[in-house]
Amino acid sequence: MNNNSLSVEEILESKRLLNRKKRLLLLFTLPLLVFIFITFISPIATMLYRSVYHPTVSQLIPLSLAELKNWDEAGDALPPSAALQQFAIELQDLSKQRLSGKLAEEVNRLKPGSSSLIKSSARKLKKTTLEELQENGDSVLLSYSKKWHNIDLWRAVKRAGQPFTDSYYLTTFDLKRNPAGEIEQRDTQIYLKLYWKSLKIAIYITLLTALLAYPLAYYLATAPSKIANRLMVLVLLPFWTSLLVRTTSWIAILQTNGVLNSSLQSLGLIDEPFELLYTQAATIIAMTHILLPFMILPLYSVMKNIDPSYLRAALSLGARPIPAFIKIYLPMTVPGVSAGALLVFIISIGYYITPAIVGGTDGQMISNIIAFHMQSSNNWELAAALGSLLLALIIALYWIYDRLVGVNNIKLG
């Protein structure tokens, strides 16, 4: 037997040992994995699902939708009378359960103006008997309003009844389906503009934080440790105060009669106060302040590890300080700059509180609209679609970033 190679038993035994170690490690990380699954993965999965799954209508009028299935919506004939009759019966039922309003709301989204029609018809249906409806519900329904003869309305009903829909994604792209089911542009561009604005604000903030943080981080990295440590506390101080307090203090500074305007006025620099609060500028200023530490810290940790002898070497080789800085020092700090920029950019593009408080209408970002659809308009599906698109956007940008800079070039410390 060759002593230089392992026998089959030895290989199996060592594999078994290795697997046991792996299982043991997994056991230790299990609580974390469960936690991440519950708090991170499943909400995102739910959000993605929510953005395409919308079962409300299909649960309200399941039988009518079953009848409508065979109706050719591309033609110009009304749905078969059996379908209309079934719809009348179910609408009466909904009316009794006080659910007709919900149906009206859902259909109204696809066919504006149909809400009052459905509601009024539902009220009238409540007064008729079930037997009458079972006999000739279709003609009863059609007799209530001429609008029931509109084929577009029935197309809207059938479309609203689909449990899976792309309509929310179309909305996020400012697109819609016309009554014939073709995709077309909406008259007003809301969401694409908002995405573009959020992107722009995030880029401004990233650039501003980089410009402000770079010299400071350089100073911190080269200063004697006693001074650097004290200043570091000041950099970290914002983390110890509430985000809300920090943002609100910007109101005090930026408002028309606030600290900034009254100081500038008393110095005689301006006659009229600037309108700063509730503008895009306010959002950018306040968020630059709040996100500055996220740029300083990675830059500092990278700069701290750069041996000062590199710059000295460049000088001793005859390079002037500024060219030496650009040619030697700057490239070495790229990992810190890219880490900080990525961090600030990703945090800022989805930021909510600060634009909500100081941004006004002009300074709103995409997250504010998502929150609006969650809290005020109760359109969770659209909120989910907007959120999913934001996630996709960030992943796409990350991919581009990886292509250009390389994720391996990132250094957080």
Partner: protein, 369 residues
């Protein structure tokens, strides 16, 4: 000033003082003249101010007081990038985002030399340090010795008249260090630049230098050629710092014609060379190198002889260290070549140790001990 004088004093430190906090001096009154083409080493324990002197010459530290002159010109107010002084750093300071060739080309590029010439000189430089095929590699892919050679080549490529080296071999292992010492020596002899070398490794200093300035506590204790430094140290610090030494404390009985008669702490009286020996009656230290101390026998017998008790011996390889104890417990070490004459003694056996008058040096005791 005539030309030869300027060559003798190519680099001059005149009354240079340096303080970082305006209170304590890191360098106290440093004076040193360096000849053109000389290889001078600044040697001393860490924190003795040697690196600070180098940094002041390179221009990275301000001079608190005094002057530094190069070729008769004061350079105190010249920016480091205009001094034309090459420098090799302890951790090489090769730019990690540039290839070896780009690193070498950098000083030529900033001097705006024509492209063709840069290419030619980079190739020459790579050949000089025997790294011809390494031009396209990044410093991260080189071994320590290769990095060191590139750093050396980079500091020489723009033909500076002075090259400073700040513990350049500190990060290498022993074999590589010896190899690089030879390499640096070879380059120095073939190119003829003026080298100022900082190290805390005394063997390195002894093997490479024309002259060594021994630093301690911000002061140059002695500046001399290696053999002078080793054989005729001027004070107890130098005697102890360079090589090994046995220290025997005693009292000066009298001094005459460069000799000092010393009564050792165990009562025996011996004679040695008076170096910075104190006045009669004062305490002093007599230093004898282990290789100059002999176990008394028919072959070895000198003017001085004292009684000692054998403790143990340590086998080193090419030599053996014998440890002895005097009557007053002072320990002594004798270094004997590992040849057939190396005696074997039993522990506790009384022995006589002997040395020549020329090999015992009487010093003022160092202030700390």
């Amino acid at each position: 000033m005539s030309e030869p004088v300027s060559d003798q004093q190519y680099v001059r430190f005149v009354d240079v003082k340096k303080s970082y906090d305006q209170r304590s001096l890191v360098v106290k009154n440093f004076n040193l003249d360096i000849r053109k083409g000389e290889f001078v080493t600044l040697l001393g324990p860490s924190g003795s101010g040697k690196t600070t002197c180098l940094m002041m010459l390179a221009g990275f530290e301000d001079v608190t007081s005094g002057h530094i002159l190069v070729n008769g010109q004061a350079i105190t107010n010249v920016a480091p990038y205009n001094r034309n002084i090459g420098m090799v750093f302890q951790h090489y300071a090769l730019f990690p985002h540039m290839t070896v060739a780009e690193n070498l080309a950098y000083p030529l590029v900033v001097r705006k030399l024509p492209k063709e010439e840069i290419k030619r000189r980079v190739a020459e430089s790579l050949a000089l340090v025997e790294l011809d095929s390494f031009g396209k590699r990044y410093p991260g892919h080189l071994s320590g010795g290769q990095k060191q050679r590139v750093a050396l080549a980079r500091s020489l490529i723009f033909e500076p008249s002075i090259v400073l080296m700040d513990e350049p071999l500190g990060a290498l292992d022993k074999n590589l260090r010896e190899q690089m010492q030879l390499e640096i020596k070879r380059l120095h002899e073939s190119i003829g630049f003026t080298a100022i070398y900082v190290t805390h490794d005394q063997t390195e200093a002894l093997t490479m230098s024309d002259r060594i300035a021994v630093f301690n506590d911000g002061v140059v204790q002695q500046c001399a050629a290696p053999d002078v430094l080793y054989e005729r140290p001027e004070n107890a610090f130098v005697a102890d710092f360079i090589g090994e030494n046995n220290h025997l404390s005693g009292k000066v009985l009298n001094r005459a014609q460069g000799l000092a008669k010393v009564e050792l702490s165990d009562g025996s009286v011996v004679t040695g060379q008076a170096m910075d020996c104190p006045e009669t009656g004062e305490a002093c230290v007599l230093a004898v190198r282990p290789e100059n101390l002999f176990i008394q026998s028919d072959k070895h017998s000198f003017e001085n002889s004292i009684e000692a008790e054998f403790i143990t011996r340590l086998y080193v390889g090419d030599f053996i260290r014998y440890f002895f104890k005097l009557r007053d417990k002072t320990e002594l070490m004798v270094k004997v070549l590992n040849d057939h004459d190396a005696p074997s003694i039993t522990a506790g056996a009384p022995t006589k140790l002997t040395w020549s008058v020329n090999d015992g040096l009487a010093f003022n005791p160092p202030p700390s001990s």
